[in-house]
């Protein structure tokens, strides 16, 4: 940590500035959509519910484990009997009826994704919070599923445990009237 001649230090600093004027800028203009920086695949935006394309229903069964584990209690959910299961079209006995997340409270920790047993919730790539209405940050089931569909299509998402969590009804031994 020795001190050089101050003039040398000043000129050195000036050289750094001159050299970096010739470089390309590292900044990106944020609101323009085409100029945004790309998000990495693991980016954690707001949580969203995933959609099971095999039988066209959500993966979520409303088991409430994410609601209980959430550090900020920003979610609420309700389950109902799955009508598709009674018809033999789905493996899920229960299905989500309503789901609300207050995105203003969400701290994007990803704990809900870790604890979910059904691959039903994922951290989407949505990250913008500004809304025109006061309570527009409270998103309901349909909005969450929309966010999820956008995320699934963007990343070609597949469930982590496809065997266990697929909604396709099991072969006849369990329910005979499903074809």
């Amino acid at each position: 940590m020795k001190i050089q001649n101050p003039v040398v230090g000043f000129i050195n600093g000036l050289m750094v500035t001159i050299r970096s004027t010739l470089r390309r800028p590292v900044t990106a203009e944020y609101p323009a959509i085409e100029k945004r920086l790309p998000l990495s695949n693991r980016f954690m935006g707001f949580p969203a519910l995933t959609w099971d394309y095999d039988i066209e229903e959500p993966y979520c069964t409303g088991c409430m484990v994410c609601v209980r584990e959430c550090p900020t209690q920003c979610m609420s959910a309700q389950m109902k009997d799955n009508p598709q299961h009674e018809k033999g079209l789905s493996r899920r006995r229960k299905i989500i009826e309503s789901f609300e997340i207050n995105l203003g409270r969400c701290i994007l920790c990803g704990i809900c994704v870790d604890v979910c047993n059904f691959d039903a919730i994922e951290m989407s790539h949505e990250y913008e919070l500004s809304k025109y209405q006061r309570n527009a940050n409270r998103v309901n089931l349909n909005q969450l599923l929309d966010m999820g569909v956008v995320y699934q299509n963007k990343l070609q998402w597949t469930p982590k445990q496809p065997q266990k969590n697929s909604g396709i009804p099991l072969p006849p031994k369990q329910s005979e009237d499903s074809s």
Binding site: M1, P6, G9, F10, G13, N41, M44, C109, G110, I111
Partner: protein, 374 residues
């Protein structure tokens, strides 16, 4: 800055009481400093804290162990991973969990990169405190690169929640090694460039040399730790003197200053970035394969007992004291934040300096108000 005129008890002359903050751009958060001046000399200062108090320690008592990691992210909000590590080490010590090798290496790599990012922020903001606007752009450019890597590994740029009790959240992506090496290349050049730009600048030297001096003994008496203590010539680094995690395996130096002035506190951090790069280089070269997390239950119930761990966060000696009553929530969590202890010495450092240097000395301690108030 509001100015009141009043008769001071400290001298016969009419002094000024200058109220700096809480809404002041150079206080690095919401921090209020009441300064009594005699002419341009500071007679006395009185720091007021508590504007950012969120009651984190109390909230910890009503959260499960796995949820508390998110709260520790928000204490020192530029050294998040180091804070997460401190808490996880405390719980692991209490439950006697053995963390897999690979997880330890990942932790060390990310924590050291986090230290570089934190010091880069200091570098930029300190330049701004002195009155130089350019260094901020350089500091933030380098920090941005580190955060980009964090985003690709942990999914978040600041509040990661990546280091978990027993290991880490998920394995690093496939191109992690390659990206870290590229990043280190950039950082090496970046640190040199930052160093050349500011460290030996005549005006910078004139403002920081010999300002806010604190001797080694006084610093120890005040409980100052981290770069601020090492700048006073005391060789004290928890990574070396009381190694945690796997730091004993790496070969790195402890930069030490000699005068204990603002310039030393600044330059110790610049040198520390170079040492951190060395640690990451060594860690990335012998990172083993294997598990990334020990087997821990989803709801952790540590045995009854208490534990204290100390780690070296970018700002100094971060201690976590944890008392468990055997349930899934801790009985008490006490954080010993380095910024809080370092702030105690501010009064001593500012004694008999010029009022124009108040911002300079405050900046050189590198406080983070989130950590001071908790």
């Amino acid at each position: 800055m509001q100015v009141h005129q009043q008769v001071s008890e400290y001298s016969d002359a009419i002094d000024l009481m200058v109220n700096m903050g809480p809404q002041h751009p150079s206080t690095h958060g919401v921090f209020r400093l009441v300064i009594w001046v005699d002419g341009e000399r500071i007679v006395k200062v009185e720091p007021h804290i508590g504007y950012l108090h969120r009651g984190s320690e109390k909230i910890c008592e009503s959260e499960q162990y796995s949820q508390i990691v998110t709260l520790f992210d928000r204490l020192d909000y530029v050294g998040n991973l180091n804070n997460e590590l401190a808490f996880c080490l405390a719980v692991e010590k209490l439950t006697e969990t053995v963390v897999p090798e690979r997880a330890e290496y990942i932790r060390v790599i990310l924590c050291e990169l986090n230290r570089i990012a934190s010091h880069m922020l200091f570098y930029g903001v300190y330049g701004l405190d002195v009155g130089a606007t350019t260094p901020m752009l350089y500091g933030f450019r380098e920090r941005e690169r580190v955060q980009e890597l964090f985003e690709s590994v942990t999914g978040a740029r600041m509040m990661h929640n990546y280091i978990r009790i027993g290991g880490v959240k998920e394995d690093v992506p496939d191109d992690f090694d390659k990206n870290v090496l590229i990043l280190l290349d950039h950082l090496k050049r970046g640190v040199d460039e930052c160093d050349r730009l500011l460290s030996q600048n005549e005006m910078f030297l004139a403002r920081t040399k010999g300002v806010g001096i604190i001797t080694g003994e006084d610093a120890l008496d005040y409980g100052v730790t981290g770069p601020a203590l090492r700048a006073s010539g005391v060789i004290e680094d928890v990574r070396v003197t009381d190694p945690y995690s796997i730091y004993s395996r790496f070969d790195f130096g402890i930069p030490v200053g000699s005068n204990g002035d603002c310039w030393d506190r600044y330059y110790v951090r610049v040198e520390e970035m170079r040492e951190s790069i060395k640690i990451v280089e060594q860690a990335i070269s012998d990172i083993p394969d294997g598990d990334i997390s020990a087997k821990v239950r989803r709801i952790i119930r540590p045995p009854v007992g208490e534990v204290f761990v100390r780690t070296e966060s970018p700002r100094g000696d971060l201690g976590v004291f944890l008392v468990s009553d055997g349930s899934d929530k801790p009985y008490r969590v006490k954080v010993r934040p380095p910024s809080f202890a370092n702030l105690q010495a501010l009064e001593y450092m500012l004694e008999d300096t010029y009022i124009a240097d108040a911002v300079l000395v405050l900046g050189s301690i590198d406080i983070i108000m989130g950590e001071v108030d908790r």
